[in-house]
């Protein structure tokens, strides 16, 4: 029982990282119909930005604002920084290629991903870095007799709050309706007076920014970060997106959480080495059963 709850919490934590990254994936996909392979690398970049801020001048931020204050500032820093990076990325790599079609966009995205990954390596080096212990809150408390770190609880609460906010914006506000309209049919949305450029700006700022926060949380949680971790997370997040139904906001959240849970439960009970194989097999089975993901809408092609 104890391991079960432990794996459950662990799975939810990883799952919430996946979900946050998957949200960005899904939002960008919905509007641009682009698999943004560079998205995972923005997540990694966020992790490094938070790291740099937290170690700068012997943890100046942590010393002045306290552990939790420092954490909050690091996340905000990554949020803003990665949001800007996302907007820049769209301008440089996607907007000029958009008219050339989807395949060219995929290559441009792969190019962006290789560029970012090697850019991170050029700046921070190829060896993994570690968030110093001094900046990570280590308080623990007992939940139903189980030791849980406060950090875990904060990560979970924050992730769920962020997901709720995004869900609210996309599903309940007028601007959200504009986003959904643009996703359905860009040219009709333009004709209805929606400024598609604003929507794209917003999507490319917010989507990656969420990944940036997730990057910092990931760094605080696992401590070790490496320049190529974006690939793994990007791939997992893409899997989560498809699992839930691509372009579907609640789908991305559920896909991410499910993926995290399956991974950690399988690793805890069956085998750590085969967990990723298990995840992909599940994904394929789900797609055979529901070809457009768990929450994806069944689309009948009109002929």
């Amino acid at each position: 029982m104890a391991t079960f709850v432990e794996q459950l919490i662990n799975g939810l934590t990883i799952g919430s990282f996946y979900a946050l990254v998957a949200l960005g994936y899904s939002m960008v996909y919905g509007v641009m119909k682009l698999i943004n392979f560079a998205h995972g690398d923005l997540f990694a970049l966020g992790s490094y930005l938070g790291y740099t801020l937290l170690i700068a001048s012997s943890s100046w931020v942590t010393v002045h604002f306290g552990l939790w204050g420092g954490m909050a500032i690091a996340m905000l820093f990554a949020f803003v920084g990665i949001g800007l990076a996302g907007v820049l990325m769209e301008r440089i790599a996607y907007r000029p290629v958009y008219p050339a079609g989807r395949l060219s966009l995929v290559v441009s995205a792969l190019g962006m991903s290789i560029f970012l990954q090697n850019g991170i390596m050029a700046i921070w080096g190829s060896r993994p870095q570690a968030y110093p212990a001094a900046v990570v809150p280590s308080t623990r408390f007992s939940l139903l007799g189980l030791p849980v770190t406060t950090l875990q609880v904060v990560i979970l609460l924050l992730s769920f709050t962020l997901m709720l906010i995004i869900w609210f914006i996309v599903e309940k506000t007028t601007f959200g309706a504009a986003i959904r309209a643009t996703a359905l049919d860009r040219s009709t949305a333009t004709l209805m007076g929606i400024d598609v450029r604003v929507v794209i700006f917003f999507i490319f700022a917010l989507g990656p920014a969420l990944g940036g926060i997730a990057g910092v949380m990931n760094g605080l949680y696992y401590r070790a970060i490496s320049f190529n971790m974006g690939w793994t997370y990007g791939l997992k997040a893409f899997t989560a997106t498809i699992l839930g139904g691509i372009g579907n906001i609640p789908g991305a959240m559920i896909g991410g959480l499910l993926l995290g849970l399956m991974e950690s439960l399988f690793a805890g009970y069956v085998s750590g080495a085969w967990k990723d194989v298990f995840v992909f097999v599940i994904l394929i089975v789900v797609l055979l059963w529901r070809p457009t993901g768990l929450l994806g809408e069944k689309t009948a092609e009109k002929v």
């Binding site: 050339a100 792969l110 290789i114 560029f115 850019g119 992909f280 097999v281 002929v303």
Partner: protein, 640 residues
């Protein structure tokens, strides 16, 4: 086209746009052979050039391996347009089959060369056949998943077969009838000769009905299926062939490196292959080789920048896509003339093809025998009413709670024009989609020529003799007009992969028949002079005619036209009516959906009226025209 170029063209100074009628010069006739001789000479002398060290010969070997991988992915991604981001899996299977069987059972490498291809192909068949129906990005993630599953399995070392993360060492080199291949130069020649043979086969495949079928699927899978292409089988064929070539690449790689390990088969490797194909140009064989050269040589040239080289590489990929999204060496289709089709024994003058394609009137007559143009028809099992070609019995289709077509009986008389009319949204196109097999009816039966065709797939129905056009024109936009129409006879041809590669006598004859039939139909609808233009460049009205010609080229008994006159002006509509009546004289039976009452009343022999999925009237045109219920359906009920 650049601005300068277009200005030059406008004033008549630009390079002449080649057309079918341009004079044949020595250069244009022998260009292929000259290019081949020059490339061959370059490849043969490369290792002996004074400044080429063993290091650079090895680089050329790796260009070869990646070229092979690029060519293999090009089949799946370039020709068929399937997003495959896990292609490395097949490469890995080839390499590991070689490694395992050579180190443990000492099977010679040269025997393992075809065996690796076979195992990789078999694996591809097994894993892709359940998922091949998935669309675009969903298929993409599944291929990524397959790639990762294979790599992780290699790492996890099941049954101590794969050597875990360290892989397998001590693989031997190939031995060609006593000649051991181990030096860089030997490997270079060995690899590039294999590639040369494969490229020869691929070029022939590209210019056969198989290559064209792949391209039809890439351009519009639904239209391809509706023109008689077995989409599922051709997609699988692409995966299987692609995997076989990747397996060969794996064998070459393993025997050269003498070791394999999972690090060589990561996701990034798959995405590099993806980039090779796109950098070269989709569906372009020289493009894939060039793309491989760039991807392998680029990092070597920038070696002194060490860790920055991949940074530049990423940047270069983005710049390429911004400035040359079509790739470095895109496959040209327009302007190559009919020669570009690569079909042997065509007459010197293109026009001489047209009369060759005139069909034998017998094949247009509804078949009483069991064989129509090589297609084996199942025995007649259904009793048809006298003189009827097609009958639907109680055909019903429900989408969830909505009944789109309800218990509909339609009778189409042989050799007549039957029109189906009704307000928008009545369910007419849905009924057509059931007849042609795109939707499966919820209830009811569809009989054609005395055979129950209810559960058949679209491409089978086409080969039985029902062809159709679409309400919103669905052509193969980036193919030439003649290529578009050549999809019609496809379903009656029988040559397979091997025949296409070997140019067997039957295959050559079949290809000539296909192009002649296409030429005849193209000329019949008055589009002959556009034969080498891309379909997307035709104006709307001509695209409609092109679509009709494509349907005619399947030599159907029944031609189903979905709103053929929509978007045409009065003059064009009149021309259309003349054409349709000529078709009936030729022996075709026509079924139309039509809104233009002038057309309907002018040419129909029988009219059925549909409203809200139900038949509300049928009869001779003049009777239907005055029918009270029909008027109500169109104009609404008059208030008392």
């Amino acid at each position: 086209m650049g601005i300068t170029e277009s200005i030059l063209n406008r004033v008549g100074l630009g390079a002449k746009k080649p057309s079918g009628d341009q004079p044949v010069t020595y250069w244009s006739r022998n260009r292929g052979w000259l290019l081949l001789a020059v490339t061959g000479a370059l490849f043969a002398t490369y290792p002996f050039l004074p400044f080429i060290t063993d290091y650079w010969i090895d680089v050329a070997f790796f260009v070869g391996v990646y070229a092979l991988l690029g060519l293999s992915l090009n089949i799946v991604l370039g020709e068929v347009g399937l997003f495959d981001l896990g292609h490395t899996a097949f490469y890995a299977i080839g390499a590991y089959v070689t490694a395992i069987l050579n180190t443990s059972l000492h099977v010679p490498i040269i025997v393992l060369l075809p065996l690796s291809a076979l195992v990789a192909a078999g694996f591809a068949y097994l894993v892709t056949s359940p998922v091949i129906h998935l669309k675009g990005d969903y298929l993409c993630i599944v291929t990524i998943g397959i790639g990762e599953i294979v790599r992780l399995t290699m790492i996890n070392n099941p049954f101590n077969l794969t050597g875990g993360p360290n892989g397998i060492n001590g693989i031997g080199g190939p031995n060609l009838f006593g000649l051991a291949i181990n030096s860089s130069t030997q490997f270079y020649f060995y690899t590039w000769i294999i590639i040369g043979i494969i490229v020869f086969g691929l070029i022939r495949l590209q210019h056969s009905r198989i290559g064209r079928a792949w391209n039809y699927i890439r351009e519009d899978a639904t239209a391809a299926e509706a023109s008689g292409v077995d989409v599922r089988s051709y997609k699988l064929l692409a995966f299987v062939l692609g995997a076989a070539l990747a397996g060969i690449a794996g064998n070459l790689y393993a025997s050269k490196q003498m070791s394999v390990s999972p690090q060589s088969f990561t996701f990034i490797e798959s995405s590099l292959l993806f980039c090779i194909v796109l950098l070269g140009g989709l569906g372009s064989i020289p493009g894939s080789i060039l793309g491989a050269a760039v991807v392998v040589v680029f990092p070597e040239v920038f070696r002194q920048f060490a860790s920055y080289r991949l940074l530049f590489f990423g940047l270069a990929l983005m710049l390429m896509m911004i400035f040359r999204p079509g790739g470095m060496w895109p496959r040209k289709r327009e302007g190559t003339g009919l020669d570009g089709l690569g079909i042997r024994g065509l007459p010197k003058k293109d026009e001489d093809l047209i009369p060759l394609g005139k069909p034998d009137p017998a094949i247009l007559k509804p078949a009483t025998t069991a064989v129509v143009r090589g297609v084996k028809l199942p025995p007649v099992t259904v009793a048809m009413d006298e003189g009827m070609l097609l009958q639907t019995h109680g055909t019903t289709l429900k989408f969830g709670g909505l009944t789109a077509v309800n218990n509909f009986d339609l009778n189409v008389q042989t050799g007549k024009i039957t029109s189906l009319i009704g307000p928008n949204g009545a369910g007419k196109t849905t009924l057509f989609n059931m007849i042609t097999g795109i939707y499966k009816p919820t209830a009811g039966q569809i009989d054609f020529l005395g055979r129950d065709i209810t559960d058949l797939k679209p491409h089978t129905i086409i080969s039985y003799g029902i062809a159709r056009t679409f309400q919103n024109i669905r052509l193969f936009p980036s193919l030439t007009c003649i290529e578009n129409i050549m999809s019609g006879p496809h379903c009656h041809a029988r040559s397979g992969t091997w025949a296409a590669v070997m140019h067997t006598v039957a295959e050559v004859r079949e290809e000539r028949d296909i192009v002649a039939t296409a030429a005849y139909r193209l000329d019949q609808v008055g589009l002959w002079k556009y034969r080498n233009e891309l379909a997307k460049n035709l104006p709307y009205g001509k695209q409609r005619y092109l679509e009709i010609a494509r349907a005619l080229a399947t030599s159907p008994h029944l031609l189903i036209l979905d709103e053929p006159s929509s978007g045409l002006n009065d003059k064009e509509s009149e021309d259309l009516m003349v054409l349709l009546q000529a078709l009936v004289k030729e022996g075709f039976t026509l079924l139309l959906i039509e809104h233009d009452m002038q057309v309907v009343m002018g040419i129909s022999d029988w009219v059925a009226v549909m409203d809200m999925g139900q038949k509300i009237a049928e009869g001779l045109p003049k009777d239907v025209y005055n029918n009270q219920r029909v008027i109500e359906a169109y104009l609404g009920k008059e208030d008392d």
